[in-house]
Every structure is written in structure tokens, then in C-alpha cells.
């Protein structure tokens, strides 16, 4: 029996009058990696925005551990244990690495364990410790991604939403990001990962959904989707 942490059903969303997501439904099981794969413009970021409370959907339900997530404001979702690592990293460029991280723990629920969480992030990403006093805007792309990950972890999330964490990174950094994701899963975090890097994402995924033009067109385990002809043709170039 898998235990569902996040349940999404009948989700429609868009920007202004333009509908982007159509009747999206998927589940995220506790303690694993669930991945959303899809081409540019498929709607991955839009789903993440709805889940994080940055975009109000047109209709649909989202429950997190049985509670209605859509009724909560974005900061209450963070406080409740849902943390987004946004596409494009979105660090605070004019603030130091350490300030960025400490801001990650601004949710009341995370504030108490704040110093401990910081040490944990520094252990995971020693580079950030070295650079703790440096302005975040001066970090390299890979370092900024580490910072975005660390900042998300500072909130002590139960569910981590990662939107294309490997976007624009060099192959060696991509490897490192996936290694980090595997570590986080081993540490018991639940992760929803949106990726264009389909092969690696599917190898890692316990469960995967294929998104096309705002619709979920296939679902299965990672290996199942890896073996699917559609996926191979469309995303893996095979």
C-alpha cells in the first residue's frame, strides 16, 4: 500500500483567459520521487505555481495530507511543509548566501530549528559554507542552484517541489543535482520533480507522469515510462 501525500484531481489553470492545464490529476506518494516530464511549455511550471500558491487555479482539488491545500496562502503552505525550489533558482541576488538561507526558515514552523537546519545545509553543500558571506548574485549558476536547494531545505519541508533544478547547468553539475536528489530521498524527503532531462529523471523516479500540452497523457513507474515507445520517441530521441 502506498501512502499518498499529495493528491491532485481535476485541475484546470491558466493565465488570464488562456487555459494551460486541462483536467490534471496525479498523486505523490510519501517518501519517494515523483516526476513530471514534458517538453517546453507543457505546463510543468504552471502546475508547480498552483501547488505553491503563486497562481490560483480555475478549478480542481489539491489535498496535502488530507487537508485542502488550495485554501491556504503561499506562506501558509510553506509553513505547512510544502517548499518550492523554483525554476530559474530565484535567489535574492543582493543578499548574502547566509541571509538567503536564513530567509528560507522564515516560516514560523521552521524558525525554532533554524541553526540546526543551517548546519545541515552546510554539511550537504560545503561550497555554500565557504561562500556564506558572499552576495548570492555573484555565485555561479550551479552554486545558485545549490543555494536554492539549501534555501528550500531550511523551511524543513515534508514535500519538496523542484522545478527543473538542472536547467542550464553543466553536465557535471547536473550529475551533482541528481545525486543530491537521491540523497534527499534516502533521507526520507518526498519530492515532486519537474524535469526535461527525462532519462535521468525517470531512472530516479518511483512514479512518473508525462505531460503534453497541459494534459497528463501517460503515467507509470519510472522504468515503465522509460520503456514506453511514446516517451522514447518524443523525449529520448530513440
Amino acid at each position: 500500500m502506498t501512502d499518498t501525500m499529495l493528491h491532485v484531481a481535476g485541475l484546470n489553470a491558466g493565465y488570464g483567459a488562456v487555459q494551460v492545464l486541462h483536467d490534471i490529476a496525479f498523486d505523490v506518494a510519501r517518501g519517494g520521487v515523483t516526476t513530471l516530464i514534458g517538453a517546453n511549455g507543457a505546463g510543468k511550471t504552471t502546475i508547480m505555481k498552483v501547488l505553491a500558491g503563486l497562481l490560483a487555479p480555475m478549478s480542481g482539488t489539491v489535498t496535502f495530507d488530507g487537508a485542502d491545500l488550495l485554501r491556504l496562502a503561499s506562506h501558509d503552505r510553506v509553513n505547512g511543509g510544502v517548499s518550492l525550489i523554483p525554476e530559474g533558482r530565484m535567489v535574492f541576488p543582493g543578499m548574502s548566501v547566509e541571509q538567503n538561507l536564513r530567509l528560507g526558515a522564515i516560516a514560523p514552523a521552521a524558525r525554532a530549528g533554524h541553526d540546526e537546519a543551517l548546519q545541515d545545509v552546510f554539511r550537504r553543500f560545503p561550497k555554500l559554507k565557504e561562500r556564506r558571506a558572499q552576495l548570492a548574485g555573484l555565485l555561479s549558476g550551479g552554486e545558485q542552484q545549490m543555494l536554492a536547494l539549501g534555501r528550500g531545505l531550511m523551511a524543513r519541508p515534508r514535500l519538496i517541489l523542484m522545478d527543473e533544478p538542472t536547467l542550464g547547468l553543466a553536465p557535471v553539475m547536473v550529475k551533482q543535482v541528481f545525486a543530491t536528489i537521491a540523497e534527499l530521498r534516502a533521507a526520507g524527503f518526498t519530492i515532486l520533480l519537474a524535469e526535461q532531462n527525462a532519462t535521468v529523471a525517470l531512472e530516479l523516479a518511483d512514479r512518473a507522469y508525462l505531460l503534453e500540452n497541459g494534459r497528463i497523457v501517460q503515467a507509470g513507474t519510472g522504468p515503465e515510462l522509460l520503456g514506453s515507445d511514446d516517451v522514447r520517441r518524443a523525449y529520448l530521441g530513440m
Binding site: V78, R89, M90, F92, P93, G104, L135, G137
Partner: protein, 295 residues
């Protein structure tokens, strides 16, 4: 030449500089966090001035006490404007996109209302009162107590605010909203709360400035506009939304104005202020003191 090097002139420059810094501080906070162009900002200075004047003439309350009243009145206006108007406009993404341009018109309306309400209550004639206006001489510099008080209070509020932004978690979250609004939401900053507190604080700063002005100058219901202009010059010179640089730019404007007039004549005041403004727009449109750190 002697006058140029005198402590007298420096004192005068610091007094007006600190006042400009304080007026601009409030405008910059509101622009930085809410992206609202508050052209009624100078009218809040006027409201603060009339609050202090009213408290003095009706209840014999000295400005050192009425300054808190003025801050509270303006903060209350900030609350009303946010809850009544902007909360909903900013929460709706489509409306929020246009709110910066629309805020100009909305605040113009607020400006007209404030001026007329005060003109109807106090009449349009100029008002004033005397407080700490005896001259004291200190280290060879002659000054009135009220100007010294202006310098002390305005500087204390400015630098206190900067320390607050630098060293408190709330200050950091405010800076996070200024730098990247959406990212601030992502980390769990309560946007609504930060916006409300900031608009109240920004308006209150104008109220404090107005109280200080009322001690040394005649006040009228229409005194606000020049303060609005000066505040915009200061925050554009410093860099929009860059709070520390705005404070520095306020003091610089005071220095440029005072020393410029001493070198030329009072008739050149506007030319100096607008000249500095245009020069900055041409040479460094992002602001003189802004650090170019963007990821």
C-alpha cells in the same frame, strides 16, 4: 570663501539633507515593496504638519509628543489606503500588472482629497507656531533648537530604519520582497503583512517629517507637492527601491542644494535640484549608489 567652510553652512546642509532623506525614505519603502508611485507622499508630510500644528494650538502638545500622533494618523491613512484599495488590486495578478501606472492616478485623487479636506478644516491661509526657536551657539555654530531637533530626529529615524532592515528577520523579508517579490512568497514571506506594515511605516515617516517641518516653516494645505518632487528626485538619484542609497542621496541633495545656493543665489534652487536629477538620469539612470548585482 569663509562662509563656505563655516560650520554654519554645513549644519544647514545637514538639516535639510536629513529631512529630504526622511521624506524620501517613506516613498522609497512604499515604491520598493508595493511598486506604487505615491504622488500624494508630500501631502502626507502636510498631514503630519497639520497634526502637529493642531495639537500645538488646540491642546498645547509640543511636537516631541505630537510627532507620535502625526505618525499614527499617517499610518492610519496607510492602513485605509491599503485595505480599501491596493490589497485587492495587488492580489489579482492581472490588475497587479497595471497597478504601478494606475497608482499614479489613484494617488493623485488622494492628494486632491487630502489638500481639500485640510483647506476646508484649517482654511488655505498659512499657519505656524513657535517652538524651541531661540538661538543657541554651540562650537561656533549658531542654531535654533528646532533645527537641531529636526536633524536629530530625522537622522535617527533614517538610520534606525536602516539598522532594522539590516539586522532583523522582518527587515530581511522586506528586502526580499523588494528584490524578488515572487521568490519572497516562495520562501514563505507573508506578503500581505509585509506590504501592510511597509505602507503604514512609509506613511508614518512622512508624518514625522511633517511634524519636523511645522516647527520651522509656515505650513499650508498645498505645501506637499515640493516634498513629493524632492522625494522622487532623491529616490531616483539613489536608485529606486534601494533604501540605504536613498538615505545617502537625501543627504547629498541637502549638501548640493545648500552649497549650490551659497555659491550662486537662492534663485538657483530649482535649477540645482532638477539639474542633479537630469544629470543622474543621463549618466547613471539606475541610480548613483546602486550596486549592479543581479543574477
Amino acid at each position: 570663501m569663509d562662509t563656505l567652510l563655516s560650520g554654519q553652512l554645513l549644519f544647514a546642509a545637514l538639516v535639510s539633507g536629513s529631512l529630504y532623506a526622511l521624506v524620501a525614505l517613506g516613498l522609497n519603502l512604499v515604491y520598493g515593496t508595493l511598486r506604487l508611485l505615491n504622488i500624494a507622499h508630500g501631502d502626507l508630510v502636510m498631514i503630519g504638519a497639520y497634526t502637529a500644528f493642531g495639537a500645538f494650538s488646540l491642546f498645547h502638545l509640543p511636537p516631541v509628543i505630537s510627532v507620535f500622533l502625526a505618525a499614527a494618523v499617517c499610518a492610519g491613512l496607510g492602513w485605509a489606503v491599503y485595505e480599501g484599495l491596493f490589497r485587492r488590486l495587488l492580489a489579482n495578478p492581472t490588475l497587479a500588472k497595471r497597478v504601478e501606472a494606475n497608482s499614479l492616478i489613484l494617488f493623485y485623487g488622494i492628494s486632491v482629497i487630502l489638500q481639500n479636506v485640510v483647506a476646508m478644516t484649517f482654511t488655505a491661509s498659512s499657519r505656524g507656531y513657535q517652538y524651541l526657536d531661540t538661538v543657541i551657539t554651540w562650537g561656533g555654530v549658531s542654531m535654533t533648537g528646532n533645527r537641531l531637533l529636526t536633524l536629530i530626529v530625522a537622522s535617527a529615524v533614517c538610520f534606525g530604519t536602516l539598522l532594522f532592515l539590516r539586522h532583523t528577520l522582518f527587515g530581511w523579508s522586506l528586502r526580499a520582497v523588494i528584490e524578488r517579490r515572487e521568490a519572497a512568497q516562495v520562501v514563505g514571506v507573508n506578503l500581505n503583512r509585509v506590504q501592510l506594515i511597509t505602507i503604514c511605516a512609509g506613511f508614518a515617516a512622512a508624518g514625522v517629517a511633517g511634524t519636523l517641518v511645522s516647527m520651522t516653516e509656515q505650513i499650508t494645505p498645498f505645501m506637499g507637492f515640493p516634498f513629493t518632487i524632492v522625494a522622487f528626485v532623491v529616490i531616483i538619484v539613489g536608485g529606486l527601491g534601494n533604501i540605504g542609497a536613498g538615505v545617502l542621496a537625501g543627504f547629498c541633495l541637502g549638501l548640493v542644494e545648500t552649497y549650490g545656493i551659497a555659491l550662486t543665489s537662492p534663485g538657483y534652487r530649482s535649477i540645482l535640484i532638477y539639474g542633479l536629477f537630469v544629470a543622474v538620469l543621463l549618466i547613471r539612470p539606475e541610480g548613483v549608489f546602486s550596486k549592479a548585482v543581479r543574477s
